[in-house]
């Protein structure tokens, strides 16, 4: 039997793992000759360590910790110096396998035991198969949810697709073009949306939210609150009569508040389902409890408006749940220095998407906002109108709230490319306009992205390597200020329009959903995948998958690939029932026993994984 030395080190200073109790656990494992706690970010002296290995005649080292790989090279080196086999330095990474806090001590022990026996943990820790209800719940109707739903439904399995807003399509439906091919987002998305609406195996619930989840992996019961649409989805022919007559205008969410919609409205012309809905917050009838207005219901030629409709709760039994809840933009007001909310012509990326979108409020004309008096509210509003003035110069600011210790430490992954796309659109639609692009690192990593960047530069956008420090207003014009690092000088450019490439944050409600489902989230709030490398679509909770941006920022191709990958997992668990139990359902003793058997070379019954 191998003589094993266990070394336990800590990488993350905030880690709450109970290292001491793990050390005493390790000491009691068979074959373990030596256990040493290294402490936080240890600086290992290789020679001393080699001496220790030789002295203790260790022929396997298990390096355990939250992220023990960070210390591994020193141990490999020491093993080599001591004359041992460098390949016998094994890692027991608690973080990798989901034991990230003191509550997961049993999991950490299991990980440690597997490493001591020299067997990969995921090979051992496979929950027992269960019977899986073939119906699947997909939460979120953006491109990720749509793709997953279609893939599963195309295989002939039932899908319930729940979307919070009045239409599916998500953020992608708001975009004008998509990088780097510049094909129009709607052109490639709308056929899929239509396919969802028409699919026999998909039950589409818009204007709905998941409010309760009970049951176990493979047999969940979900409660869904169907917010009253107040319009019969099936009967409505989107004739527009109700909207024409509705007296109430409010700012349109779909158009990012750049224009108005009515209290009874359709988010956008290609919305799916193609039916109107009532905004109860704005509707006079609803607000006055039926005392006022009600004109739409009276005028509707199909008589399909029921303003008194109430929310309902429906229940479904499903086997698996797919989280595809996407993202929100970080509230740009928080990044005070850029004056969003203070200067009307400082826009978020989504606002610009709507302005430049042919089906947006300006018909695709790039304009600065105009001040419009709202007679009802007796205030002035800044709206984008097609008769607005064209900007003479535009600044695009990357990394707004991203890669920043004061906001989001992470990179939002998509902003560089969409910012380049914006520069292209500005230069194309306004050839005389100057366009400045402020960036830190240009992350053009995908297929065809680098080439796209070169093209945009050649088109004449001024690319400034440096972050904009602030946006101010001087004599009625916006001024952006920054350091042009490559040119080695401070720059101040007067511009008419500033576009903020605002970073992505988990969509509102992510935390609640995580609690409801028992799915852990990472320090940035995104849903945690089961394993960074090998299980990017599974979660800690059996039968719950993640697709798209809700797991972490990603662009459309990566989202679609991941969404399809989720479908594979769902289909496989339906057909085999494997891997849908909770990982935590496995007892430590069970894992220990299996690991020992495997180490002894005894064949296992199936080694199906998740």
């Amino acid at each position: 039997m191998a003589r094993v030395g266990v070394f336990i080190g800590q990488f993350d200073s905030h880690s709450t793992i109970a290292f001491d109790s793990l050390a005493s656990y390790a000491a009691n494992l068979r074959a373990v000759e030596k256990v040493r706690l290294l402490g936080l970010r240890p600086k290992v002296d290789v020679k001393t360590l080699a001496e220790e290995i030789r002295r203790e005649r260790l022929d396997r080292i298990v390096l355990a910790g939250d992220s023990p790989g960070h210390f591994k090279p020193a141990f490999t080196r020491a093993m080599q110096l001591a004359g041992g086999d460098p390949a016998e330095v094994r890692l027991a990474s608690f973080r990798e396998h989901g034991a990230s806090s003191s509550e997961a001590t049993d999991r950490a022990k299991a990980i440690l035991a597997c490493a001591v026996h020299g067997v990969p943990y995921p090979l051992v820790a496979v929950p027992k198969p269960t019977v899986v209800n073939p119906a699947t719940l997909v939460i979120g109707g953006g491109v990720a949810g749509i793709q997953t739903a279609l893939e599963i439904a195309d295989a002939g399995k039932k899908v319930i697709l729940v979307e919070r807003s009045g239409t599916i399509g998500g953020h992608m439906a708001m975009f004008d073009k998509t990088f780097p091919t510049l094909d129009c987002a709607a052109c490639i998305l709308t056929p899929k949306m239509v396919a969802v609406a028409e699919h026999d195996m998909i039950e589409l619930l818009t204007n709905s939210e998941v409010v309760g989840v009970t049951g176990n992996p493979g047999a969940y019961r979900v409660e869904i609150r169907r917010h009253a649409r107040r319009v019969d989805e099936a009967a409505c022919v989107a004739c527009n009569v109700c909207t024409d007559i509705c007296p109430i205008s409010v700012l349109s969410e779909f158009d990012q508040g750049l224009t108005h919609r009515k209290a009874i409205y359709i988010p956008f012309p290609q919305a799916v389902p193609n039916a109107y809905l009532v905004d109860p917050e704005a509707c006079l009838w609803v607000q006055s409890e039926g005392k006022r207005c009600g004109a739409c219901a009276k005028k509707c030629p199909k008589e399909c408006i029921d303003l008194a409709e109430e929310d309902r709760t429906v229940t479904f039994d499903v086997g698996t749940i797919v989280l595809a809840t996407g993202y929100d933009l970080l509230d740009a007001r928080k990044v005070e220095r850029y004056g969003y909310g203070k200067y009307p012509n400082v826009l978020t990326a989504l606002e610009f998407e709507r302005i430049t979108n042919a089906s947006g409020p300006t018909g695709g004309k790039i304009v600065v906002k105009s001040k419009v008096a709202n007679r009802r509210l007796k205030t002035d509003e800044w709206l984008a109108t097609s008769d607005g003035a064209a900007p003479r110069s535009v600044a695009i600011i990357h990394c707004v709230g991203s890669r920043d210790a004061n906001y989001n430490p992470y990179c939002s992954r998509v902003c560089c490319m969409y910012s380049l796309k914006f520069a292209h659109l500005v230069r194309e639609k306004l050839p005389d306009a100057t366009c400045y692009e402020f960036y830190i690192d240009m992350r053009a990593f995908g297929k065809g992205y680098e080439e796209f960047m070169e093209r945009i530069k050649a088109e004449g956008a001024h690319v400034v390597r440096g972050r904009t420090a602030e946006v101010s207003e001087v004599d009625g014009r916006l001024v952006v200020k920054g350091e042009d690092i490559v040119q080695d000088r401070l720059v101040q450019y007067p511009v008419d329009l500033v576009i903020l490439a605002v970073g992505l944050v988990p969509s509102a409600g992510t935390a609640e959903l995580a609690t409801l489902l028992g799915v852990p989230r990472d320090q940035d709030g995104w849903f945690s995948e089961l394993n960074y490398n090998s299980e990017p679509t599974y979660t800690e909770r059996g039968g719950v998958f993640v697709a798209g941006v809700c797991q972490g920022p990603k662009d459309i191709p990566d989202t679609v690939a991941q969404a399809s990958a989720v479908a594979a997992g769902v289909l496989r668990s339906i057909s085999s029932g494997r891997g849908v139990s909770d990982l935590s359902s496995l007892a430590l003793s069970e894992i220990e026993a299996r690991a020992m058997q495997m180490a002894a070379g005894k064949p296992q019954e199936a080694t199906h994984g998740r």
Partner: protein
């Protein structure tokens, strides 16, 4: 043009850690700090560039730079830094490092790298000074007399001692200042100022010294006022002691002509020191959030010196001659190491380097403007010639 190749020195950043630059490696060069800095202009783009020089270990470049002295640590750069790289603190550390570079004796380097060494030297010098003053006092006067012929430490003698010490300090500072000039300007191949430029900008020296006007350009006025109070208090006290010591030490009655100014100066000093100490304890603003050991030593010394000075003065007025004498000895034995060590080697040297840097910066600006315009003209001429040739 063939650019000079400079070798990077990855060791310098480790060295600077001892001077307080703990976070500079985090900088990923977004340029935010330079753009928010109220002092950065078209000729001096910092702190980002200075941080870069430090990361790369371009010692000569840093030695030749005035930028650290143009920073007054308002802390806007650090507040907005996305990576927690603490540009303000880095500039502060660079000032410490530069101080040690200007100092030809190496003492400054020793002190900044080891606060223990500094403390030991401070204590030793203080003890020696105390011993000297006591021996001197007992040898020629009486501990029971503060004033008059039998005075323990007669002001005339102390005055001579003061001047002697002043001479030493002036010599040290002068040498260091000349070194500073040489590093940044005289020996800097990138800058070739004309004599006229030097003369024209000369007014900057007294202006900056007495008003600390550059500091006022930092967004908030409070730190500048505190700093000014401290500085003016200190300078007033220096003037009083150097030129009017007999008036200051006369007594026990209060002579408002001298003491009035002295009280104001003491109040300024005390106010400045207390605000600084409380700020550093509370870490209430970016510029006081990080304290190098030398900062505590410096403030501690200043506080004790101020307090003992006040105590000595009060005891003297109260007629407690012996107590006043003892307080005076304590006071002097602290003043000596403070002046001897802090003025040429420590933070007080800023008193000289700052105005000098402002002056040299003015010289640089004018010279750079001249050099740039002639370079531009040169390019124009070459371009014209090329055109003509074509």
């Amino acid at each position: 043009m063939v650019a000079n190749v400079t070798r990077v020195n990855p060791k310098l950043i480790h060295e600077l850690e001892k001077y307080g630059a703990q976070d500079v490696q985090n900088c990923y060069h977004c340029g935010n700090c330079s753009a928010v800095c109220p002092h950065a202009d078209e000729y001096f783009v910092f702190p980002r560039k200075s941080m870069r020089m430090l990361q790369m270990g371009l010692e000569k470049r840093i030695e030749a730079s005035l930028e650290p002295w143009l920073c007054y640590y308002c802390g806007q750069c650090s507040t907005g830094c996305p990576r927690g790289a603490e540009p303000g603190e880095t500039m502060m550390s660079l000032r410490r490092w530069l101080t040690s570079r200007y100092d030809f004796t190496g003492i400054s380097r020793l002190f900044y790298r080891s606060w223990k060494a500094e403390a030991v030297v401070l204590v030793v010098v203080a003890l020696l000074a105390a011993l000297g003053f006591l021996i001197f006092g007992f040898s020629q006067g009486s501990i029971h007399h503060y004033d008059g012929e039998q005075a323990f430490l007669p002001s005339a003698s102390i005055h001579i001692f003061d001047w002697g010490m002043a001479a030493v300090l002036v010599v040290l500072l002068l040498i260091n200042s000349i070194r500073m000039w040489w590093f940044t300007t005289g020996g800097n191949p990138r800058i070739r100022p004309k004599l006229g430029t030097y003369l024209k900008a000369l007014y900057q020296l007294p202006l900056q010294f007495f008003t600390q006007k550059e500091y006022a350009r930092c967004g908030e006025r409070q730190p500048w006022l505190v700093h000014l109070a401290l500085m003016l208090g200190y300078v007033s006290m220096l003037v009083l002691i150097m030129f009017f010591l007999h008036g200051m030490q006369a007594g026990p009655e209060i002579r408002w002509r001298f003491h009035g100014v002295g009280y104001l100066a003491s109040a300024g000093l005390l106010f400045g020191v207390l605000v600084a100490v409380i700020g550093r304890i509370r870490k209430s603003a970016p510029h006081v959030a990080h304290s190098h050991e030398s900062d505590w030593l410096f403030l501690g010394m200043l506080l004790i010196v101020t307090v003992t000075g006040i105590v000595q003065h009060v005891l003297h007025r109260a007629g407690a001659a012996m107590a006043a004498n003892l307080a005076y000895v304590v006071h002097l034995s602290l003043v000596v190491p403070m002046l001897l060590l802090e003025v040429p080697f420590g933070k007080w040297s800023h008193m000289v380097y700052r105005p000098l840097a402002c002056y040299l910066a003015a010289v640089h600006r004018e010279t750079l403007a001249r050099q740039r315009s002639s370079a531009a003209q040169g390019e124009q001429v070459t371009a014209d010639r090329r055109l003509a040739a074509a």
